[in-house]
Symmetry: C2
Subunit: 598 residues, 2 copies
């Protein structure tokens, strides 16, 4: 049976020692009072909720799955899921970083980030129910009318109701321009929606008294393609002006998908059969409004894989210390035992350290990004807000794709550490692999993320945003360039930073002649960018660790952090060499292959 210990120490290190978040919060009137003790107390409680309430439901939720009653269109979630959700609501967790104007606690996103990392470690399938709600909350908060906000936000904030994103249809996922769901204006200003949606996470359940569906659809006169899509809020039960529930809206779950993983979450096929909704934001601007939700969701998906990487690592580490098998190549280590624990074997250590480094790099990146989001939402200086927004936009596809791909590598390694037992459900490791697998696909496949990064975010403004990231790195390189102890961490990122500048210009030029060159390079490019960012973050973490050690701090945490950083630069970072080479191999060997793909 797996176990889970919330990684509070590492979260505190990243928040307080690396990014000094409370110093940053002092500049934000809304968060000026948030101090270290408050943060630590909140994440400690959050960790208890995650490990004590939802973690015990992870394997049983996977085994039971969700069941649809076709007659009533109601879905039964796995045993215990509703009771855990009640506790989540009672604990006020849904409201953690919501707007106080609607009953929220108004705490920084950084805290929500830590809460969600731990909930994802504990139970990704369960966590998707509140997770989707939070996305719906954000879209309505940003684009809803006052009336919509008044009607929906307090209940989403409290967690009394949950939310969904209804985008995908059977014939379109990536290409939402093709979508067919229709919205006809009614005399009273509402809209009547008709259509079919699929892959709706948390799409139906009885954990909350209402479900607030955010639905993409077309108005009758809408232009073709993605410029003719509008966003609507369509509640499962209509909501009266006083907030009480009215009649059932005909937006029904007609089927649940049989999936590789996240069995505890109801992935619903939804038939919208004349359901009444209201318009969110401007007509035909639905995609833009939805992107508020989508960007949050993409960071959230990275966080899911961070959570799975962490919990998989913890369990593989425990197993590697406990399981004895063979002797160390360099001589017997456990003389009193029949064999040595498998952690003595170099490759077992490599698999464990890969997971550890990917978890720690991801945690630093996720917290960094949410701190930027806090600035976007709460910093008084417009320039800081704009710059933070630009940087988080650049980092979002990296968070989504790099962390989920790393999660795939890491959960598979951790499963491999268990040998044959890793393949057996009761040990819990294969579930982490299966659950993580969707993270590479949904909210925009990782290929789509790479095109977003290279095509839009980087080449789209001629590398201007990339230069800003380069400046951040350049600053660290300057600061530490003469520090011999930092050389092993600084040199690789300084060199890769230079290479990437050239590399980007090169692809930019080739792409102007042939846009397929961008498509051919994008996936490799994103991984190189991911390593540049992880490299930067590991260097910053090593900087803090070295300073603490130099100052006489004897907490072994710092030595461990240095070891992990060294491992990262020696064994993971070097894949950039191959990635740049294969990206440079260009599009011809992919596109001139009609015979091979005949």
């Amino acid at each position: 049976m797996p176990t889970y210990t919330p990684p509070l120490r590492d979260m505190q290190f990243v928040m307080h020692e690396v990014f000094k978040v409370t110093d940053e919060f002092k500049a934000m009137p809304q968060h000026a009072e948030v101090d270290v003790d408050t943060i630590n107390a909140v994440i400690e409680e959050a960790g208890k909720f995650a490990s004590e309430v939802i973690f015990p439901l992870n394997i049983s939720g996977d085994t039971e799955g969700c069941v649809l009653d076709k007659a009533t269109h109601e879905v039964k979630t796995p045993t215990g899921f509703k009771e855990a959700y009640d506790k989540y609501v009672e604990g006020g967790w849904a409201a953690l970083s919501c707007d106080p104007a609607y009953g929220g606690q108004g705490l920084p996103f950084v805290l929500n980030q830590c809460l969600y990392e731990m909930m994802n470690s504990a139970n990704q399938a369960w966590t998707m129910y509140p997770g989707l709600s939070h996305g719906a909350y954000e879209a309505l908060h940003a684009h809803g009318t006052d009336e919509q906000k008044k009607l929906y936000l307090p209940k989403l904030t409290s967690g009394e109701w949950t939310g969904t994103m209804c985008l995908t249809e059977p014939h379109c996922g990536t290409d939402l321009g093709l979508l067919r769901t229709k919205a006809e204006p009614q005399a009273d200003g509402t809209y009547k929606l008709t259509g079919n949606k699929i892959f709706i996470s948390a799409g139906e359940h009885s954990m909350a008294s209402n479900i607030v569906h955010l639905v993409l659809a077309r108005l009758p006169d809408a232009p073709k393609g993605s410029k003719g899509i509008s966003l609507f809020v369509v509640p499962k039960f209509k909501v009266n002006a006083d907030g009480s529930l009215g009649e059932r809206n005909p937006i029904y779950c007609t089927g649940l998908e049989h999936k590789m993983g996240i069995h505890g979450n109801a992935t619903a096929q939804i038939a919208i059969d004349g359901a009444i909704g209201t318009l969110v934001g401007q007509p035909n601007k639905g995609l833009a409004a939805m992107f508020v939700m989508m960007n949050a969701a993409r960071l959230g998906v990275g966080n899911q894989s961070l959570g799975l990487t962490e919990v998989a690592f913890q369990n593989a580490l425990a197993y590697a210390k406990d399981r004895i098998q063979m002797r160390s190549l360099s001589g017997t280590k456990a003389k009193d035992k029949e064999a040595d624990p498998i952690i003595v074997h170099p490759d077992v250590r490599k698999m464990l350290l890969t997971a550890k480094a990917y978890a720690e790099g991801a945690r630093a990146l996720q917290i960094y990004c949410t701190l930027l989001l806090d600035k976007v939402h709460s910093h008084p200086d417009e320039k800081v807000r704009a710059e933070s927004e630009e940087l988080v936009a650049l980092l979002t596809p990296i968070v989504k794709a790099f962390i989920t791909d790393n999660g795939h590598i890491a959960t598979n390694h951790c499963m491999q550490v268990f040998g044959g037992h890793g393949f057996i459900k009761e040990w819990g490791m294969e579930q982490y692999v299966r659950d993580n697998r969707i993270n590479m696909i949904y909210e925009g496949t990782n290929t789509v993320q790479s095109l977003d990064l290279l095509g839009r975010k980087i080449l789209g403004n001629n590398g201007a945003t990339l230069k800003k990231l380069g400046k951040l790195i350049g600053k660290l390189v300057e600061e530490e360039g003469v520090n011999e102890k930092m050389a092993e961490f600084i040199n690789p990122i300084a060199m890769l930073g230079d290479q990437m500048t050239k590399f980007t210009t090169e692809i930019g030029f080739k792409g102007m002649q042939n846009p397929d060159e961008v498509g051919a390079a994008a996936v490799d490019y994103l991984r190189v960018a991911g390593h540049l960012v992880f490299g930067y973050l590991f260097a910053r973490m090593a900087q803090v660790a070295l300073r603490e050690i130099a100052a006489g701090n004897t907490d072994p945490f710092y030595g461990a952090k240095l070891q992990t950083a060294r491992f990262y630069f020696a064994k993971l970072f070097p894949e950039t060499a191959t990635l740049m080479r294969t990206a440079r191999a260009g599009s011809k060997v992919l596109m001139d292959t009609d015979l091979a793909l005949a």
Copy 2:
């Protein structure tokens, strides 16, 4: 619903045009009469059996799984499995490459290889029932007494009975030296066995009238560790001297594992409660006898991943041509459609071509290895036999680990091509990922394979065997070194061959000082060696294709083969650059990490 078309053309290309197997067979008296037409007829029929009989049972077998009746210890396999097995036996497929002395057809292993590739594509879980039998057949054929052979081999040859390998126990898998199952000699020369085994594939079922378990156990006076293990044959039903079935032997299935994949195969927990068996081979030499079976099984596991890679590729290709979504970056391709088929996108093509190249490389390697096995078993020249044996021993860990790791990459890519639909069971893609996942673990994890390759097969004889492989490659380089058209295929392997020589010496020296250096480098090393071998095989395939095209052959197959080879060298082979770098990073960053792994 997935489809499957046997890749007969590519098999024929590899057998007849690249390796000219019938020329080789002419030197082997047993196979001298096996001609091209016979081979083609056999694989065509084998393809029909695979695609028409067992492929339709693949998804249903996964969904149903196996069910144990705890009262009777009998296992019910998925619907249709038994009927399909009956057809397999009726068709004489079990006997294909078995010894005519026991009713076999005596055909080359190369044909069995093709049969099994296709059966694995069609249904890996089902194929493991006959697959394990074949391993038991080989171990008894090599090490059994005349009486054992007479008793068991005819029934294993016909397929009337199936076989298993009972090695693993709850506390030991890799480290069989720890095993505890006991065998006590009886007055009549038999042995009474007691113990518990786990992870026994095809361990119980009612598809055949008897199951021949090959069991590793310890004699009362056995030395400790792996030098005290003996091999026994323990039938489910005792066998009378006339071959008829006697009473039930107390070797019972007490549980079935709940697994990530291969649900259709019964992975049994087995209690041996005083079951009667006979000794196979010499006392305390059981591991050596078992290795006959194990080596065959390792090649068989590579073949499983080849099969899954091929079928995953076929279905991803079909989907990529059919599914329309977004427009090509370089301009609309399907003007009459709402969007372009996703095969226009460079990264989709990259994922498809990765699977294709890994399937074709694996097929060439598997056929090459089984041709070597045919030489080992049937060549009259002792030197040829010995050299072939040495080479196949070197290649076995590469086949097992490189092909199964590639299968992991390829099946995941093919699943990814399907976007969200890839995660849904009905499409069949996620099953290929789950089924393949065990291939990286069982029959010796891929880490164990890498230590076998680098530690035993390469450094164990100071690189002598590696030099022989180097000579083969050197011969091709010499032959084609002046052919400009071959340069793109020859240069990379010539360069990598040189690098590997240095690289091997370097690790050898470091390893003499610190054996953990070997353990730290082994996994990376094996992948480099894998690419050297695949590179060599792609170069040989390209050589044939170029010759055919030069001779005016207009079959588009040759152009396609060249495109795949070019893709392979441009996009997959270059990972060797990183692998050598990370291997060279050594063991220190893995071993000096006690704090990080505290």
